[in-house]
């Protein structure tokens, strides 16, 4: 369970419009060439993470993958999610 702020990367199917991306304030939005969207940003704790997942659910978004790295900084390479 996440106890501290973690840098989180969420990969979502399809490119998000800037309107929908506004639902994820504080996140960097990256449209990947393969056709997915990568949201990256700090997630404070487990409760915040679940809040985020429920927001994805309510907007009908399809979650492809989710990764967390300790610390608030993004990993050097956004890279491919596992």
């Amino acid at each position: 369970m996440t106890e501290q702020t973690n840098h989180t990367q969420i990969r979502i199917k399809g490119h998000l419009s800037s309107r929908t991306a506004r639902a994820f304030t504080g996140f960097q939005v990256q449209l990947l060439p393969e056709g997915d969207t990568l949201l990256s940003g700090p997630v404070e704790d487990a409760a915040a993470l679940y809040g985020l997942i429920f927001r994805l659910r309510d907007l009908g978004l399809e979650l492809v993958s989710l990764q967390q790295h300790a610390g608030t900084d993004p990993p050097p390479q956004p890279g491919e999610p596992a």
Binding site: H15, R22, G60
Partner: protein, 879 residues
């Protein structure tokens, strides 16, 4: 005021015009229902057409249905339950009529037990019925999940639960699947196949597309209903469908995002603006739309109709087409594109509109959403008392906790209600901390009612945390709470009466109970009234006014009866004291019947823990009186478990004392001795109050032949009972004295005490105290016959006296005559009692019995008790 029930939550939205019939899926649902599966689960992401599918199925099903659209506030179990009942009342209008009375209680009952009432009612329905819970993913409260699971485990074959959700609920789905009790439709089932997509686009939306176009739309949307519909809407107004489809297929854009942009782009600016602003609201009607969209040139009513006709995701919430909401998915997408300031502005306007139209609860919610704390607090001051009366403590607590603490503290009434909700949802430690905080911050000009409420609640909290119920704070709180405050006063009067009663202030307590029930009746709080009436009845019985006590109960049964003349469940609670009093009078069959009736009512109302204990205790005594000792002990064991669970200290102590009484009667001294050593270690403090544990201890001493100790204890108890003047206590103590005196050889004093008890008890027929006083009293009782012959005969069951033959001790046939004690023992042995039983009956040790028996055998010249009995009968030494 009670919180209004939102009727829109029970309305199954009609399948929108242009929605597709899905007969294969309907058939799967209908077959599952007919096969008696308990649950139909439709679990798929937003926009998969779950609601439309189910409303379409139900419109074509042989089953009736009750619909409930859930929202986040239904995480309050009381609110969820209330709406559940109201939904089911569409099927069975008379369902759970007593519900408001129960939810109005300070301590809400366990809802599971109330559910049983619903389940039993549903089992009797003629027509099969589906109970639909839409948007179940909004439920996250474990308490509500537990209720649904409880329901699911017990649904009768006539009722099927239908759950629509975006995520699998935490119910035992695997088990249901394995037992074939589940019909399940998931995203893969709900996706439109090519044929369905074609029918939707061509037949329902009036498009004319080549097969390849349908194929590519289906591929691109993956059969997602919302996607296909949005695509269809765009295509309806598109000049170049082929180009649209090509662009759509060629982009990586998120399906709904892309299509929504397309649809919005196809609308004129005012309509787009209208959608964006109104989408902030959970539900809306034309007037409310006009409020939040005033500058627009669009007439709201027409715009709504237009949106519905264009199938732009507005969903009607009632038959009259007054209230609407947007499709949740679209509303969420539209909202995410709206900035915070706009959203708050819209909520603020909506709050004002709701307030003017009288829906204060909705106004308060909108004000909270707008973070307009001062306005919200002002509204909550009116809404929160109503929520308290409706039993929706958790919702109300949620609203109060959404306020910033400084705002809450500057409104003492809201702060006090927060304490109320904490206390009556059992969060005692938090309540204590809250009281401490309030003490230092409440302004001196806090209204007396609020100060009184806090004082009373604090006294209650201290008791719940293990302290005594203190009368002084309750008295002061009563001074501060208004004379006609039918909400607080009945509760505090009842508590105050209970608090002063142990000190013997009978008249004052009686007055409190009477005032409490009258005020509660005036304020239409029947349960509070019944609680006060029952307390009054018990008090009357204790103080020697058994006839009046019975009359109070009979009056309750008359006053609280339904249309059929039968007492309502609330009224039937009066059977609990009534059954106890019938037992006191010795009317066992009638007592048994009333006790059962009372316990059933308490269970039905979910109030077993609060109300049923005296009745259960009386049933134990009754079973023991009828000779079913193992049954009585088993019942006690059950009660002890309940007391342990409910954590009620007083009940626990009473159950233990009752068990020891039974053990003593069975001659099982050891457990009682151990209990006494635990309960009363060291020397006894002086007795100031009559106490049942002490009474049991005194009786134990008598059985242990520690007669002087017993006498001292009974005498102290008698003095304590004199101070309160309570007859039942006086009888118990006086009879104990009589037994102890007799054993100590002070026969005349013993007889005097016994006569006194008979004189006190006879006029109103207090019989049970004599039975509970033990076998010695039963044996001595005939000697006090002349004090009240009929009464004594009714206890001894003696036929109008034919005096026993004179003491046969001088029987000539015996060389050495039998002594009085020996004759007594011989008679008991001949009657089939074991040595142990004889020892108990005569308050002597087992060794003494054996010693006497040996002497008897010697004198009679026999070798066994059978021979002894036979010879003794022959010689008419015994009857």
């Amino acid at each position: 005021m009670m919180l209004p029930i939102l009727q829109t939550k029970f309305y199954a939205p009609p399948p929108p015009a242009g929605s597709l019939a899905r007969p294969q899926l309907w058939a799967r649902l209908e077959e599952g229902r007919q096969a008696g599966r308990r649950l139909a689960l439709i679990s798929a992401p937003a926009g998969y057409g779950k609601t439309t599918l189910v409303t379409g199925w139900l419109a074509n099903s042989a089953a009736a249905h009750a619909w409930l659209s859930l929202d986040r506030d239904d995480n309050d179990p009381a609110r969820f339950f209330t709406y559940l009942v109201h939904a089911l009342r569409r099927i069975d209008p008379g369902l759970a009529e007593d519900l408001p009375a129960v939810l109005n209680l300070p301590q809400p009952p366990p809802l599971e037990s109330l559910l049983v009432t619903l389940i039993n009612a549903a089992a009797g329905w003629q027509q099969p019925t589906c109970l639909v819970l839409d948007d179940y993913h909004l439920i996250e409260s474990p308490a509500v999940h537990a209720l649904v699971q409880f329901l699911l485990e017990r649904v009768p074959p006539t009722l099927q639960l239908v759950i629509l959700t975006r995520q699998d609920p935490p119910l035992p789905l695997a088990r249901l699947r394995a037992r074939r009790q589940l019909t399940e439709l998931r995203a893969r089932d709900l996706r439109f196949n090519l044929e369905e997509a074609g029918r939707l686009l061509h037949e329902m939306m009036g498009l004319d597309l080549p097969p390849a176009a349908v194929q590519s739309l289906t591929d691109r949307t993956e059969g997602w209903c919302a996607g296909l519909q949005l695509a269809g809407i765009s295509l309806q107004s598109s000049e170049n469908p082929a180009a649209f489809i090509e662009n759509f297929s060629g982009t990586h854009r998120f399906v709904i995002d892309y299509l929504l942009e397309e649809v919005l782009a196809g609308l004129d600016a005012p309509l787009r603006d209208f959608l964006t602003r109104t989408a902030v609201l959970d539900r809306f009607c034309a007037e409310l739309c006009a409020e939040v969209f005033p500058e627009g040139s669009l007439p709201a009513a027409e715009t709504l109709t237009r949106l519905e006709q264009a199938n732009l995701f507005v969903i009607p919430l009632d038959e009259e087409r007054r209230w609407y909401r947007y499709h949740h998915l679209l509303a969420d997408l539209l909202r995410s594109g709206t900035d915070e300031e706009t959203r708050r502005g819209v909520q603020q306007q909506a709050s004002g509109w709701y307030e003017r139209s009288g829906d204060l609860e909705a106004a308060a919610r909108c004000a909270l959403a707008a973070r307009d704390s001062d306005h919200a607090a002002r509204l909550l001051r009116q809404v929160v008392p109503a929520a308290a009366r409706s039993g929706q403590y958790r919702s109300a607590l949620g609203w109060l906790d959404a306020l910033p603490q400084p705002v809450l503290l500057s409104a003492p009434d809201l702060a006090a209600y927060r304490a109320w909700f904490l206390v009556f949802t059992g969060r005692m430690e938090e309540a204590r901390a809250w009281f401490e905080l309030l003490q230092n911050v409440l302004p001196p000009d806090t209204p007396p009612r609020i100060q009184g409420m806090l004082l009373g609640l604090q006294a209650w909290t201290r008791m719940a945390l293990g302290g005594p119920l203190e009368s002084e704070p309750l008295r002061r709180s009563l001074e501060m709470v208004g004379e006609d405050d039918s909400e607080l006063r009945p509760l505090f009067l009842l508590a105050y009466g209970q608090a002063v009663l142990p000190a013997g202030k009978t008249a004052e307590a009686e007055d409190c109970f009477r005032q409490s029930y009258r005020l509660a009746e005036a304020g239409q709080a029947p349960l509070h009234a019944l609680a006060a009436r029952n307390n009054l009845a018990f008090l009357l019985n204790t103080s020697g006014r058994l006839d009046e006590a019975v009359a109070v109960c009979e009056d309750s049964l008359r006053c609280y009866s339904g249309k059929d003349g039968q007492p309502s469940p609330v009224g039937s609670l009066a059977c609990i004291p009534l059954g106890c009093f019938l037992l006191v009078r010795g009317e066992w069959d009638a007592a048994e019947q009333r006790l059962k009736q009372g316990i059933t009512a308490a269970r039905q109302l979910g109030l077993y823990e609060i109300f049923a204990h005296p009745a259960e205790n009386a049933r134990v005594v009754l079973a023991a009186e009828r000779g079913d000792l193992p049954g009585a002990l088993a019942m006690l064991e059950n009660l002890a478990r309940h007391a342990e669970k409910s954590g009620l200290g007083a009940v626990k102590a009473a159950v233990q004392a009752a068990e020891m009484e039974l053990r003593l009667r069975a001659g099982d001294l050891e457990p009682a001795a151990q209990w006494a050593a635990r309960a009363f270690p060291g020397p006894l403090p002086p007795v100031t109050l009559f106490n049942h544990s002490l009474l049991t201890l005194a009786r134990l001493r008598l059985y242990q032949n520690r007669d002087s100790e017993a006498l001292d204890l009974f005498t102290s108890l008698e003095a304590a009972a004199q101070r309160t003047g309570w007859l039942t206590d006086r009888l118990a103590a006086r009879l104990g004295q009589a037994a102890a005196l007799h054993k100590l050889g002070r026969a005349p004093e013993a007889l005097q005490a016994l006569r006194e008890a008979v004189v006190l008890a006879a006029p109103q027929g207090y019989r049970q105290p004599f039975r509970s006083a033990g076998p010695l009293i039963a044996a001595l009782l005939p000697r006090a016959r002349e004090a009240a012959p009929e009464f004594v005969d009714s206890l001894t069951g003696a036929p109008p006296a034919s005096p026993r033959p004179a003491a046969p001790s001088a029987h000539p046939a015996l060389v050495e005559p039998l002594g009085e004690r020996e004759l007594e023992i011989l008679a008991l042995a001949a009657a089939g009692l074991s040595n142990q039983q004889i020892a108990v009956r005569l308050y002597i040790t087992l060794g003494t019995v054996k010693w006497h028996l040996n002497n008897i055998y010697g004198k009679l010249g026999v070798k066994s008790r059978t021979q002894a009995a036979a010879l003794a009968r022959e010689l008419t030494l015994i009857d």
